[in-house]
């Protein structure tokens, strides 16, 4: 019985994985985690255009914010930069670490909007 | 999780228990249990009961458990389950039949040796919990007859064996005369104020084994000790009340003992070879009286002998035998199964002790095969209990006190 469940489970996971990859070949499908030396989790699933369409986000700065001297610069965005250019792995002072920046940026908004994934495995899909 | 007793026990008849049980009512049981739990117990019992994780790791510490083919009814925690847990859980609403079983468990199936506390990872004092059960049994008047009789004797005569006022100095004088046949100038000094040492014994010595007093007198004499014995109450250091949960009588006994030493203005008390008396004087009785440690320096006979030999006050004329250790030994040795008042519950429970300590017989037999001929037991209860075991299991070992051996091998005046 247990074996059957295991096989069924792995098949299911396999199919889901295959499907997710197939759908999203054209576009950005995950958050780039190249900056991490030894990532403990799979890169966060994130289909950029689809997400913004669904979430009705037009303003790039909504996520790609720009801070100067610890203050948010209104009407400026930072989509031409990598997140890791500002957010290093350790974080310092008011500057959150890269992990924390990702988490607060995504999860923070999801919490505010009461929509979207908020648990670890909802983004870091195995 | 009920588990049938592996062997159907033959029902023991003990008048103390049986008559006591016949007088009980459920109301009385409930009120006594709750009174003891509320007024006489505190954090220890509460925390012990609530901390025990029911792991059973104390089991193999217990000679009863090991001797009964690992029957869980005899494991330390098993005994707790059958007694105090139920009493607490049911808020005292237990049956007279339950009390009967509890009395037998607490008074005859535990020697209070505390080996289980050395095996419990949390150091839970299981023997203490069973002593609370004994206290309840005492207050319910269900204590086994024989040990209750000794406790009564303590209460009436201030000694364990109903030794009457004149019998005590008579016995000492008799032993003095006997010893003078061997050493003419030997004395057993009575009521000698300001002596260095008060020597106290347990009542079974004058009652049954007066030659032990003779031997002690010879050792004292040869060593040139400035010693004395009291002529009236306070000479008996034994304490069966401690084992019946009769703390009030325990307190009276110890007070008499200490006050006698104070009256005689001695520097310290040396006591004969007895285990429980030392516990009473050094650990339990003094606490009841409010002394964290005894108000007098208490020296047990074997420590005293050790000092005498080390200081050269007695000299060993001939080698006795080679020491062969038994295993387990030291603080991990098995109890004799007589202590904790169990042997004092008398004939009805003789087989409880003997069958409850088969593991001791095996241990002794193993030691005998290594060449041991004599078993040294520096305690009266151990001595008698081991005698029964050696006899029943046909092990064939002589049992001796240290005093016997020292008396035999020491240099004595010609």
């Amino acid at each position: 019985m247990r074996n059957v469940t295991l096989i069924a489970l792995s098949l299911l996971i396999g199919i889901v994985l295959a499907l997710t990859t197939a759908w999203s070949q054209d576009d950005m499908t995950v958050v780039d985690n190249a900056a991490f030396d030894n990532p403990q989790r799979t890169p966060s699933v994130f289909v950029h255009d689809e997400h913004n369409e669904m979430a009705e986000i037009d303003d790039c700065a909504k996520c790609h914010h720009l801070y100067e001297d610890g203050k948010l610069v209104e009407d400026e965005s930072s989509e031409d930069q990598s997140c890791s250019e500002c957010h290093d792995l350790e974080g310092s002072g008011d500057q959150p670490s890269l992990v924390k920046a990702f988490h607060t940026n995504c999860k923070g908004c999801h919490q505010e909007q009461k929509k979207g994934p908020i648990m670890c495995g909802e983004c870091h899909i195995k | 999780m009920a588990e049938p007793l592996k062997k159907e026990k033959t029902k023991v008849v003990d008048e103390g228990i049986d008559v006591g049980i016949s007088r009980l009512t459920e109301e009385k049981i409930e009120s006594v249990i709750n009174t003891v739990l509320e007024t006489e117990t505190g954090a220890r019992l509460k925390i012990y009961v609530e901390t025990c994780i029911h792991c059973g790791l104390c089991s193999e510490a217990c000679h009863y458990y090991l001797s009964h083919d690992k029957d869980p009814h005899y494991s330390p925690v098993g005994k707790i389950k059958q007694t105090i847990w139920e009493m607490i859980k049911k808020r005292g609403r237990v049956s007279p039949e339950f009390i009967r079983r509890a009395a037998i468990i607490a008074q005859t199936e535990c020697n209070m040796c505390k080996r289980c506390a050395q095996y419990c990872p949390f150091g839970i004092d299981i023997a203490y919990m069973l002593s609370v059960v004994r206290r309840i049994i005492h207050k319910l008047g269900v204590t086994p007859l024989y040990i209750q009789d000794t406790a009564h004797s303590h209460s009436v005569t201030m000694n364990q064996m109903w030794v009457k006022g004149d019998e005590w100095p008579d016995t000492l004088q008799w032993q003095e005369e006997e010893a003078q046949a061997e050493i003419p100038d030997l004395r057993i000094p009575l009521e000698k104020e300001g002596a260095d040492i008060m020597y106290s014994v347990i009542a079974p010595e004058p009652k049954f084994q007066a030659q032990l007093i003779y031997q002690a007198a010879v050792i004292m004499h040869v060593a040139g000790v400035n010693w004395t014995m009291p002529a009236s109450v306070g000479w008996d250091n034994s304490d069966m009340a401690m084992f019946t949960g009769d703390n009030e009588v325990m307190g009276r006994l110890k007070r008499a003992h200490f006050e006698t030493a104070a009256r005689l203005k001695v520097k310290k008390i040396v006591m004969g070879e007895c285990g429980h008396a030392f516990r009473s004087v050094y650990d339990m009785g003094n606490r009841w009286l409010g002394w964290s440690m005894p108000p007098f320096t208490i020296v047990h006979a074997i420590e005293f002998y050790y000092d005498l030999i080390k200081d050269g006050r007695i000299k060993i004329a001939k080698k006795y035998k080679t020491v062969i250790e038994m295993h387990p030994n030291r603080e991990h040795n098995y109890c004799c199964c007589a202590g904790g008042g169990v042997i004092n519950t008398g004939p009805p429970f003789k087989m409880t002790r003997i069958l409850g300590n088969r593991v001791k017989a095996e241990q002794l037999f193993e030691t005998k095969t290594k060449g041991a001929e004599v078993l040294v037991a520096p305690c009266h209860n151990c001595h008698s209990g081991l005698h029964d075991i050696v006899h029943h299991y046909e092990i064939g070992l002589d049992i001796k006190f240290f005093g016997d051996i020292i008396y035999e091998v020491m240099e004595k005046p010609e």
Partner: protein
């Protein structure tokens, strides 16, 4: 699931931690007050030296006679308890949450190692369960509550293990995991899981009695 997750990881987690820390403090203070009220002599007999000597021997595998007599149990119980304490404290996902909530963080275990440690806890719980069901001396003193507390302890690890591997319905498992953790924390002071709080005291007292009064070892 959003609101349920937020409830179990928000208000309920607060309640759980308050019950855990508050309850633990309460239980220990109550115990000390009870000692003070009824068994003051215990303080007289307590000795730092003999307390620590005894605790020291019992928290080291194979340093006591009984640990040596039970080698399998000793290995299992030490592995179980170490992993039980260390895994939730040093788990990356947990520290990430602490960081997000309170901007505090500390060293974390690699996920692969935490995964192994979780398995150790689960297997340890299975061992204890089997032991309870099969060894007569354990079975005899086992009651329903023993299974309940074992389940309370095992649940956060089983659900955590499933959540980490994203088996079954992930959001549901995740919520159950947080709930199970809350329950365990809150249960510690108020069940026999409180041996976590009290065992150092009982051990210390027995060590003191044995060392100071009896002049003997209690291990």
């Amino acid at each position: 699931m959003h609101s349920f997750y937020n409830f179990v990881s928000g208000p309920l987690a607060w309640i759980a931690f308050i019950l855990f820390f508050g309850g633990s403090t309460y239980r220990i203070v109550r115990m000390l007050m009870l000692v003070n009220e009824k068994e003051k002599f215990i303080f007289t007999y307590m000795s730092w030296r003999y307390s620590l000597r005894s605790i020291f021997h019992w928290i080291i595998p194979f340093a006591t006679v009984n640990w040596r007599r039970q080698p399998v149990l000793t290995v299992v119980t030490f592995a179980f308890h170490i992993c039980l304490m260390a895994t939730p404290i040093f788990l990356l996902s947990h520290v990430v949450l602490w960081d997000e909530a309170f901007s505090i963080s500390w060293w974390t275990l690699p996920d692969a190692m935490a995964d192994v440690m979780t398995v150790i806890v689960i297997l340890g719980a299975v061992y204890f369960l089997v032991r309870r069901l099969t060894l007569p001396e354990v079975k005899f003193v086992t009651s329903g509550s023993d299974f309940v507390i074992l389940a309370i302890v095992a649940a956060p690890f089983v659900t955590g293990f499933f959540a980490y591997h994203q088996w079954l319905s992930y959001p549901l498992i995740m919520c159950l995991h947080v709930l199970a953790g809350d329950i365990m924390l809150a249960a510690i002071p108020f069940t026999r899981l409180s041996h976590m709080l009290f065992s150092p005291f009982t051990r210390a007292y027995m060590g003191s009695e044995f060392g100071k009064v009896r002049h003997a070892r209690d291990w």
